[in-house]
């Protein structure tokens, strides 16, 4: 029987974290549509073993995540498997916005805006994680195509209200989220909105 362990609405621009026990499932629901959900995960027993965008991309030979994708550590160990995806694909290469990168992307006037790295640092500190633990992250619902000449960019989203990604923990996994506050590009339609996190156990 499926049991709901937690059901949390994460406000626009806010961070979130939880530990999933092996076999538990996290559903990330895009409530308003086109909200980028910046996401990092760690082996809860040893956070030096953490999500590796590069190892994940190389193992699946594709930059997009969707149903069946396995999020892996640098050593190749599975952390989470995407067991359901009603959106279609998700970004692995765009990373997180930061006050610093905003100064390059838009100009120095954006340096004082809230950014995902601030959320990751604040929420990660609760678990003893610091800046060294922040690496290239997943961006659920964010649309980052790569043209044939190599041009890439964050463009209008392909998500919609109510779309959902479900992740199954393959071991005990610490999940760290920044519900992206970016207001200068289309990653969240220039309008950050809340997302809902539902953790279930018992074979969801």
């Amino acid at each position: 029987m499926t049991t709901i362990i937690s059901d949390t609405e994460v406000a626009a621009r806010a961070p979130y974290s939880t530990v999933l026990r092996e076999g538990e499932t996290l559903a990330i629901i895009d409530l308003g549509g086109n909200q980028a959900v910046d996401f990092l995960c760690y082996d809860a027993a040893d956070t030096a073993k953490r999500y590796s965008a590069a190892a994940t991309i190389a193992a699946q030979r594709n930059i997009f995540l969707t149903t069946g994708s396995v999020l892996r550590t640098g050593e190749g160990a599975p952390l989470l498997t995407v067991v359901e995806d009603t959106c279609g694909r998700h970004d692995t290469i765009g990373g997180a916005c930061s006050k610093e990168s905003n100064s390059l992307r838009y100009g120095q006037h954006t340096r004082y805006q809230h950014a995902c790295v601030e959320n990751f640092l604040t929420e990660g500190a609760k678990w003893g994680l610091g800046k060294r633990d922040l690496v290239s992250n997943v961006n659920w619902y964010m649309n980052v195509p790569v043209e044939q000449d190599g041009t890439l960019g964050i463009v209008d989203g392909i998500s919609a209200p109510g779309l959902e990604v479900k992740l199954r923990a393959e071991t005990d996994v610490l999940v760290l989220v920044s519900n992206c506050p970016q207001i200068n590009n289309p990653c969240n339609g220039f309008d950050p909105t809340p997302v809902r996190m539902i953790v279930t156990g018992g074979g969801a």
Binding site: S52, A54, A58, G74, G95, E100, R132, S136, N137, L152
Partner: protein, 260 residues
Amino acid sequence: MSTTSTTYGARDHARAQAGTVTEAMPAIPASTWPDPPPGIDPAKLTWAETVAGGGYTHKVLARGTELRLTDVEGDACAHVLLYNADQPWERLNVADTVKVQWNAYLGEAIALLSDQARVLATVVTDESGNHDALCGTSTVDGLRLFTLAAAKHGLTPRDLPPSLSFFQGVHVETDGGLTFTGSAGPGKSVVLRTELPVIVLIANVAHPLDPRPDHTVTPLRVLAQRSAPSTPDSPEWTASPEAQRAFENTADYLTARGLA
């Protein structure tokens, strides 16, 4: 009794090995490098080494160093990580490097950006065109070598972010799938210019998407020479509005730090 059964014999045996020349070894001092390529003044060399396939190396380089990597036989794969040597918590950020410059591929005038929106180094010359910023290093070999190289600078696995690969390329298809494009052939070089004092870690191991089962990898030549950092009229500085702001951030940092 063998010749090494006494301290005197063992000492003689060990000392007799000095002067041995092999393919993969550093020249110390670098200025003694025997065959500098055209345009390189041996007196300016600060690092000269051939890294064997399956080997690694590392160095702290001054700001304004030209780091020339050469794929000697055509099957090198230089996995590279860079850190601000004065504060190694500031390090290469491949996501920012591709996102900020709107470009998935490495090539001339691409700035290698830190997580603090500064330029660690730029690609000033690229004869290869076959590189990769997406797949990182091969999970077992590369990670092990980076772990060792990092340890020699007091850094741990937590300090290893995704890395770059030079000389073995990957192409992104429209569906996001990756095609391994391999090497551009023997003798190709890439020159990076450091814009901050950097720790460079290099692991020369097969690319993770290299389909050959036997981890084919051949020697990598590393030659670094003293040069000058970019200036506001350098092509890298003006390559894009984003690069320009990254160089401005770097100059701002160096000014406050008393380094420029």
